[in-house]
């Protein structure tokens, strides 16, 4: 995780913001800046001009359907180019407003490529300590897409995204811990985010079943006892969750988090259905880690 950057004194950590040009989410942009602030890293926007879209625009028979569905019209590559540029200007302007007060270094590049390949290349340039941020809001059916990013982009430690219901970044930072090995790293990462936001850090033990949850809770208590005095986290004690992702999603929702850190494929989001529940429940950004 990027938390390792801080722990190791690594100077090459980066937040790589993927902008594909389909209406960026303000919460996603704010989350990207927030992560960059927390880890004192730079933020690089990668404006991807999807080669598939460009190829599509070259077909004379294809039409573009407006988001309202009321307008179906032919398009030309020049039209799509103009729209990409407009979105790029808008995102740069927005990021400047968010990042300037905190002296977050901003960089950007424009790439015409397959989105996944472009992202992989961008992350590979600056070493392994990258966090990918997705500018566009993510729907409930994006499990495979997210898994593909984490699987293909090896030089990234995590993925920050905003669901379609995301409206805020204020609120406690909630870490969903489902693995003993990741406890200390998760607490360090969460602490940095919580400290930057001036919000409490809550840790939710989420085992595959209740005994495992109990065991995780025990480990968490030990880890928090060993943690430095600066680390202040609270363990979320719930009733029996029975390892149910829906129940966990509901618990997380009620905590009204400003940031949720969880593992894709972990206890909270084991499968596409669980992602739909989480995306539907969360009003803040989600930080997915491997």
């Amino acid at each position: 995780m990027i938390a390792h950057v801080a722990a190791a004194g690594e100077a090459r950590g980066r937040v790589v913001l993927r902008v594909c040009g389909a209406g960026p989410s303000a919460v996603a942009l704010a989350a990207a800046v927030h992560v960059a602030r927390a880890y004192q890293s730079q933020l690089e926007s990668v404006f991807i001009r999807d080669e598939h879209v460009l190829a599509m625009a070259s077909h004379p028979f294809t039409k573009v359907i407006s988001p309202s569905g009321r307008s179906v019209k032919h398009w030309r590559p020049a039209d799509i180019d103009r729209e990409y540029r407009a979105i790029e200007r808008k995102v740069v302007q927005h990021l400047n407003q968010l990042a300037t007060p905190y002296d977050v270094p901003l960089h950007s590049r424009v790439v015409s490529d397959d989105p996944l390949r472009a992202l992989t290349a961008a992350c590979a340039e600056a070493g392994p300590w990258n966090v990918i941020a997705l500018a566009e809001p993510v729907g409930g059916y994006a499990f495979d897409q997210l898994a593909a990013i984490l699987s293909h982009v090896r030089d990234a430690t995590g993925l920050v995204l905003a669901g379609r219901n995301a409206v805020r970044t204020d609120g406690p930072v909630v870490i969903v811990v489902d693995d003993v090995a990741s406890i200390s790293g998760a607490i360090r990462a969460g602490s940095r985010l919580a400290e930057t936001a001036g919000q409490p850090l809550l840790v939710l033990p989420a085992g595959a079943d209740d005994p495992e949850t109990d065991a995780l809770e025990g480990h968490l208590r030990l880890a928090l006892a060993d943690a430095s005095e600066d680390t202040s986290a609270e363990i979320v004690v719930t009733g029996a969750l029975h390892g149910s992702p829906d129940a966990m999603a509901e618990v997380v929702r009620r905590l009204r988090p400003g940031f949720v850190i969880a593992r894709l494929g972990g206890a909270l989001i084991p499968d596409p259905d669980a992602l739909r529940s989480v995306i539907g429940a969360l009003e803040g950004p989600l930080f997915l880690v491997r």
């Binding site: 359907i65 569905g69 539907g280």
Partner: protein, 846 residues
């Protein structure tokens, strides 16, 4: 008296021959001595009162007077007007300033309204259907503050409960169910279409412009150059598939607004369900409190509906994000909740002590009378709402009495018209005056008018009342009752006693020392002096109160326990002394012979007239030399004052009257071949009034008869065409003015003043003059006719007409008539000689 022959040095050389013969013949007759005229005794010069007759030691012995004394007529008018139930029987109280009018009316109304009587409270509330037309609601007396407080409490409760209710798990889970049902439905339909397209090797991609489709092979979009290599029927097949899928996608997207609408409706229903619960709980108590008032209840229902509809206002903070120190916002000042507040226009106290309002508006401007619509400047615009409706005096007086000074009212733009309009319409409507004139361009309101039941009482002087009655056609219809306050009452023993009680009430009200009997007597005497009539007492309470307070000051100055006669006397003297600088200067100009006034000796055609100068509240008399010159002429008196445009109309009238007297008495059968000139010597200001007409006539008679006038006498009085001397004003000041001039040179015992007989009743002279008269050093003569006057002035008999038609030889009248006949004959012979010369082709007329 004295007998005086014509002075030996009088020249007659210039007289024409014909005139000379008549006049010389008359002059040959010895002058007839007039009978001695007895001056007024000292007792007639001032009406005093024996302190012992008052039967009091000090005013503490007396029961202070309640209300007014001697104003029965006015009080009956007030009683009548305030008891008439109709709207047009309003009252105009007229009388001199400081006569205690408003104090008396207030005291009367206080007695009349002492019993509690319910008077409605009035409030303005928001009109939820038409916010520009705020609603006016009536509540029983004293209940409006309870409504306002209850509304604030309810809103405070809602501010606490609504966010909690909408944060509750119950609400959140139901809301999420609606949201998710909608969003997942959309996503699912889209995902299904995406899968269907993928099965047909069609890609659906998100682009900056929307969604687009293209043929796909192995997960990648087929490039055009590759696609074009495909067989035509395959290409057409793909394009047809895309066409179909595009229509399906458009259908899905187009269904979004419909679903969105459904979602919003469901959310609105959910919000309304929770809002209703919260609002009903908060307003239930108020509704039951005011269940007996249907209009208030209806307003509360409207509030409920609006609160439910706009429950979102309780879910936003409404606080200024830039505020450094956040403080809890008083809900009544929170702009989000203004429309639910209550604007209390008027409330008359608690229910059990509610009384009829008596409101005196000291500054009756338009806004202060009918209320005003205030505005708040916001972002360069002027905004207003029903809470910025400010009541006027008419609102506060509704159900009772409104007291207004008429002069101030008339001097305030729009106020008089607004008051009349309001009384006529029997409702008070708050409007912007500029709006009426079409000048208003900013946002404003049209609040519902409030029914009006008020009795308006105007205060003013008589002149104002009669002007309004004459020139304002609405006035008589709306102010049907006049309460005419007398400024004097008869000086009877009963009224003197009442006056003493009035003085007692003044000392009590102003916490002054008591006045002893001597002081009261002096105040009563001063009351007569202020009334300018010894048969009357002034009831200008304000002036009397001032005098008593000043006497109290001098009593304290002397460490006296009571106000005594000398303190009153000193207060009067000091007040005069403070104001008489100009009198002193005028006096000085006479004693230094800058202004020529003779107070001894005799002169033909010269007499001392008397004038009164009014400077503010202080008036004083000043003698003025009047001279007359006569000659042959064409029957004309030259009033030099009028010719120099220094004489007023009344003065001119007086001169014409005296001419009428002369012509009527002396020129019945001969022409008036007289030319005379009259002048107020050394008078550089204006002269008006006819009080000098008798004086001027005496001067003329002296000039015509060649009989000198005693310069130790001064004269005042007007004259009519029959030679009767008529009353004038300011008699006391005039006498005092001449007395002071004479006293400055030393009283000779020959000096005095001639006053009309009708003015004797007005005499309230200073005590030093009374003493001088008593000692025979100064004389006041009451005169009924010109003949009487000329005898006193000249010591020569005026002369009656004898059976042969002539006047007694040696009388003044005989000499005047002879002189006039002489003028007539001289004129005739002069005219004849002129004709002869003309007939002889003679020379020019000399």
């Amino acid at each position: 008296m004295f007998f005086k022959r014509p002075p030996a040095d009088k020249t007659v050389a210039s007289r024409p021959e014909a005139e000379t013969s008549n006049a010389a013949e008359a002059e040959m007759q010895p002058l007839l001595e007039a009978e001695t005229h007895i001056p007024l005794p000292a007792a007639e010069l001032r009406r005093t009162i024996d302190p012992a007759s008052l039967n009091l030691t000090t005013t503490e012995d007396l029961e202070p007077a309640v209300g007014l004394i001697g104003q029965d007529r006015a009080l009956r008018a007030i009683e009548f007007a305030t008891s008439m139930p109709t709207h047009d029987y309003n009252l105009f109280v007229l009388g001199p300033p400081a006569s205690g009018k408003s104090t008396a009316v207030r005291a009367f109304l206080k007695d009349k309204t002492s019993q509690p009587r319910p008077v409605s409270d009035w409030i303005y509330v928001n009109n939820f259907e038409d916010p520009n037309r705020p609603r006016a609601l009536a509540l029983p007396c004293g209940r409006s503050p309870a409504l306002r407080a209850a509304m604030i409490a309810a809103l405070e409760e809602l501010r606490q409960t609504v966010p909690a209710m909408f944060e509750s798990e119950d609400y959140q889970s139901r809301r999420r169910t609606i949201e998710e049902g909608f969003k997942s439905g959309q996503e699912e339909a889209f995902e299904v279409l995406k899968a269907k397209a993928a099965e047909q090797n069609i890609a659906i991609l998100q682009t900056p412009m929307g969604l687009a489709m293209a043929p796909m092979h192995e997960g990648k979009v087929v490039k055009p150059e590759v696609f074009n290599t495909l067989p035509q029927d395959m290409r057409q097949g793909i394009e047809a598939k895309i066409e179909v899928l595009q229509r399906e996608l458009a259908d899905i997207l187009q269904s979004v607004p419909k679903s969105e609408k459904e979602r919003r409706e469901k959310l609105a229903d959910l919000n309304a369900e929770f809002a209703t619960l919260a609002v009903e709980q908060a307003l239930d108590d108020i509704k039951s409190m005011f269940a007996d008032l249907p209009e208030v209840h209806a307003h509360l229902e409207a509030c409920s509906a609006d609160l439910i509809r706009n429950i979102g206002v309780f879910l936003s903070s409404g606080e200024d994000e830039g505020q450094v120190v956040k403080q809890p916002v008083d809900i009544s000042r929170d702009p989000r909740f203004r429309r639910y507040m209550v604007n209390i226009v008027v409330t008359n106290g608690a229910e059990e002590t509610c009384s009829i309002p008596i409101v005196e508006e000291l500054n009756p401007t338009y806004g202060n009378l009918v209320g005003r619509i205030e505005h708040i400047a916001q972002m360069g615009a002027l905004l207003t709402d029903f809470l910025l409706l400010k009541p006027g005096a008419l609102h506060r007086a509704n159900g009772g009495y409104l007291l207004v000074d008429a002069r101030k009212l008339l001097m305030s733009p729009f106020a008089w018209e607004a008051l009349k309009r309001t009384i006529k319409a029997r409702e008070v409507r708050i409007e912007q005056p500029a709006e009426q004139m079409g000048f208003m361009s900013t946002q404003t309101l049209d609040p519902e008018p409030i029914p009006l039941d008020v009795k308006v009482i105007l205060f003013g002087d008589r002149q104002l009342y009669y002007l309004l009655a004459a020139h304002d056609e609405d006035f008589n219809g709306l102010f049907k009752v006049e309460a005419d306050f007398d400024d004097t009452i008869s000086r009877t023993p009963d009224n003197a006693a009442a006056y003493a009680r009035l003085i007692a009430s003044i000392t009590k009200r102003h916490a002054l020392k008591p006045v002893d009997a001597g002081g009261v007597a002096r105040l009563i005497e001063e009351g007569s002096r202020l009334a300018q009539d010894r048969q009357k007492l002034s009831i200008e309470v304000g002036r009397l109160a001032d005098l008593v307070r000043e006497a109290d000051y001098w009593a304290r100055y002397d460490d006296s326990g009571v106000i005594q006669r000398e303190h009153v006397q000193r207060a009067i003297a000091e007040a005069i002394q403070r104001a008489d600088r100009l009198r002193d200067r005028a006096q000085e100009t006479i004693t230094r012979d800058i202004v020529m006034i003779d107070t001894s000796g005799e002169k033909v055609g010269q007499i001392n007239g008397l004038a009164v100068l009014q400077l503010g509240a202080f008036a004083f008399g000043r003698p003025s030399r009047i001279t007359a010159r006569v000659r042959m002429g064409r029957g004309r008196i030259t009033d030099i004052e009028r010719e120099a445009k220094l004489g007023g109309n009344l003065h001119t009238k007086g001169v014409m009257i005296l001419w009428g007297f002369l012509a009527g008495r002396f020129a019945q059968d001969t022409p008036m071949a007289l030319a005379a000139s009259l002048v107020f010597e050394q008078s550089y200001g204006g002269v008006d009034g006819d009080s000098a007409s008798s004086t001027e006539l005496y001067a003329l008679l002296s000039a015509l008869s060649d009989v000198p006038i005693r310069q130790g006498l001064a004269v005042t009085g007007s004259v009519n065409q029959w030679g009767e001397v008529q009353a004038i004003g300011g008699v006391n000041e005039k006498i005092e003015g001449f007395f002071d001039v004479c006293a400055a040179g030393g009283l000779t015992g020959e000096q005095g003043v001639l006053i009309p007989k009708a003015n004797v009743q007005h005499l309230m002279l200073r005590e030093d003059i009374v003493a001088a008269a008593d000692e025979g050093r100064f004389h006041i003569h009451s005169i009924a006719t010109i003949d009487q006057g000329i005898e006193v002035l000249t010591g020569v008999k005026a002369g009656d007409r004898l059976p042969d038609g002539t006047f007694e030889p040696g009388s003044v009248n005989a000499r005047v008539e002879a002189r006039l006949k002489g003028f007539a004959e001289a004129s005739r012979s002069f005219a004849r000689s002129g004709e002869d010369q003309a007939g002889n082709g003679g020379a020019d007329t000399p």
